[in-house]
Subunit: 421 residues, 2 copies
């Protein structure tokens, strides 16, 4: 039988004792931020657990890593510290362990209902990179923007393409997104359009959170790259397709993306995801030696996107995809990122790119789902080509265990109208 | 007669009392970093000046902004604080003012010879953006990469094109640069090249340092954008042209740039540069209203690049350009950056893009100077197409006053050989 916690966890919960994802929360509006793990319907306050002396292992004993306002210090400590914390917390929360179970005052202090807490960004993000690792997404975008002849650029099968995104505008799930204004592609010889974006989209992504970084000038070997990744979050890379289409030649996406990027609050560790590891797709051509890994690993994570149209009560499933659709693995992405000597720092975010699958109902953005607005989607009796003001987009993701889910919770955001022009 | 300091300043110095650029230094290897201004051959330690109570103005009196290890807090305070600091420091350093001049123990503590200090990055850089604002550079690059028909992309005259760069790998002048390894463009149908970059280049740029930021969702008006810019530094955006050429379609530059970006240590304030303001070029077509500014201002700053070839004693001037060659102004860049709601933070860096002028001897990178390696440059009896191991690249910049220079010092870096493959 699976490990059980003394805290009741509903079988549909994303946060059983097998998961224990890390986040940062405020127990009260005036509190300083505190690290936590999620368990059932509760946040376990790691500040209180550390103060109570319950991290007794050789690495974490006496450490102040959980007295910080973000997880960066813990992430920098690396996998031995992460493993020790996981063993300690799984034991502490298990049904057979009295230390917390039978200590009512500590339970009162350390277990806070998720319904009552404010979640914050779990890490200070130094740099944010966005990859382009789903072949289906690359093919569909190429076809839409550049036509059906050679829709995938020649370099795509040789390297995990990426660009630098904007770190300052990364926000936590639940933050409203103001529709951006900007220049859109002009029709023929007329001057460019200026105003609120008419093609506001979501992009279904996940992002890896970097643990220990690397020194400038010292690349990370692809076979050691896994030890530089702490875990994953859901990520919505909101995109204004009209702004993007006009600005992106020749230096890539800029204002079409930088108005906001939403991440889910709970970082699910690679250690919790290990039971859901699966083989990555076979790569053809063979990658260059610096990208050729001994074991090429993906994860079986079901990903869903729901839209709650403006003014409606119910949300509507618009896509179901899976992390395992990615062609380039997380470890290849990280090794490629550093092959030129670029330094990563703890807390950096590496987005996967839009995770589209091969089926029409597994496409990861409206650009693909509505074929650039030419095939409207039906939603609860209304239709959408792109997002309208008041629409809410909700991502969720989970891996199915035996009687439980190792899940990510949700990553959501609602569109507010643009500022007046 | 021009204002004079009691500290002797050679007429060739970049740091007369009219300049007073800000930096961060360590007086001793074990000291904590301290803010400073440069005066002649000295750094004036603002930590000591603040402790001595010499910032007596209403904004800075009692502030701890100069007790910080970087300038971010001072930058966030905005132009009124910057003006007050300038007035206070110009008075304190002037020949007629006894407070520091006649206080030997404070002079001993607060004036440190520049030859003895280690300069550090002056700000914690949250995000770094690189623009593409010289028309001559855009035209030359377009011709080299895409041919002479329409070398400048259609969007270029409508918006200041930019991309997000890598913040983690920004280094201070004097830091060695390891030649990056990476994939280069394949010849015909052969697999891509992998190894040390064969086309390592510099890019002559300047960068604006952001003062007060803006909230996410709240754009900055172009006519108020000047108050969000503290000052300028020299910047070398090292570029591996072979890596860049292969990776940049469709998402822009990534590893071809992220292995290192060098900035000069002293931030020259816009207030010190104001006497050298000049009209920006007339823009045709007229910019959209959000980019149309009441007064479109450039600065007359002479920029020079020297290369000291590997193994040689002397450096050789390879280009002389001027900041006033930029088509898009700093304030247009900043307003455009925020028009979609993107938030800037104090200490963010906005690179101008390579500052090439119209003349063959004013081109800002080797890609242009050697026409992608087809026309080698002569240097002290040797030749270069791109940079070789051991080469040192030295930028300098200054505006000429009446009997003094308001200068930036230098921004230099030397190429170290790549790691073995
Ligand atoms: Ca994306
Ligand atoms: Ca550049
Ligand atoms: Mg985004
Ligand atoms: Mg660079
Ligand atoms: Ni960044």
């Amino acid at each position: 039988m699976a490990l059980q916690s003394f805290i009741p966890v509903h079988p549909d919960s994303h946060f059983p004792i097998q998961n224990l994802p890390y986040g940062v929360f405020k127990p009260q509006p005036t509190s300083t931020p505190r690290p936590a793990v999620a368990i059932g319907d509760y946040a376990l306050d790691l500040y209180e657990i550390a103060l109570a002396g319950l991290f007794y292992g050789p690495i974490l004993k006496g450490s102040d890593c959980f007295l910080q306002p973000n997880l960066n210090k813990f992430l920098a400590m690396g996998r031995p510290a992460w493993k020790e914390a996981r063993v300690t917390l799984q034991k502490l929360l298990s049904s057979s362990e009295p230390a917390l179970r039978d200590n009512e005052s500590l339970r009162q202090k350390s277990l806070v209902p998720l319904s009552k807490v404010e979640m914050l960004l779990p890490v200070a993000i130094g740099d944010y990179t966005d990859f382009f690792s789903s072949m289906h997404h690359a093919k569909n975008c190429g076809t839409i923007f550049r036509g059906p002849q050679n829709p995938i650029p020649a370099n795509w099968f040789h390297l995990p393409i990426a660009y630098h995104g904007r770190a300052s505008s990364i926000v936590i799930s639940g933050t409203d997104i103001v529709r951006p204004r900007g220049q859109g592609h002009p029709a023929g010889n007329s001057p460019p359009y200026f105003g609120p974006s008419k093609k506001l989209d979501f992009e279904l992504e996940m992002a890896a959170v970097v643990g220990p970084g690397n020194e400038l000038g010292k690349p990370v070997d692809v076979n050691e790259a896994g030890d530089h990744i702490f875990g994953l979050v859901l990520m919505n890379d909101w995109s204004a397709r009209d702004i993007q289409a006009w600005e992106y030649v020749p230096l890539g996406p800029f204002l079409g993306k930088s108005f906001g990027t939403t991440i889910s609050p709970w970082i699910v560790t690679l250690d919790a995801l290990e039971p859901y590891a699966c083989d990555a797709p076979k790569q053809d051509p063979n990658p260059l030696p610096y990208l050729a890994e001994k074991k090429s690993k993906n994860y079986d994570i079901t990903l869903e996107v729901q839209i709650k149209p403006a003014g409606q009560e119910d949300s509507c499933l618009v896509t179901r995809s899976n992390f395992k659709n990615l062609y380039w693995t997380l470890t290849q992405q990280l090794a490629h990122h550093t092959i030129n000597g670029c330094n990563l720092r703890p807390g950096d975010l590496l987005g996967t790119g839009t995770i589209s699958g091969p089926e029409p109902e597994s496409l990861g953005c409206l650009l693909e789902l509505t074929w650039n607005g030419t095939k409207p989607l039906s939603l609860n009796g209304t239709t959408r080509t792109f997002l309208e003001d008041g629409d809410e987009v909700i991502f969720s993701g989970y891996s199915k265990g035996n009687g439980y889910n190792v899940g990510f919770g949700t990553c959501s955001g609602k569109i507010l109208p643009s500022l007046p022009c």
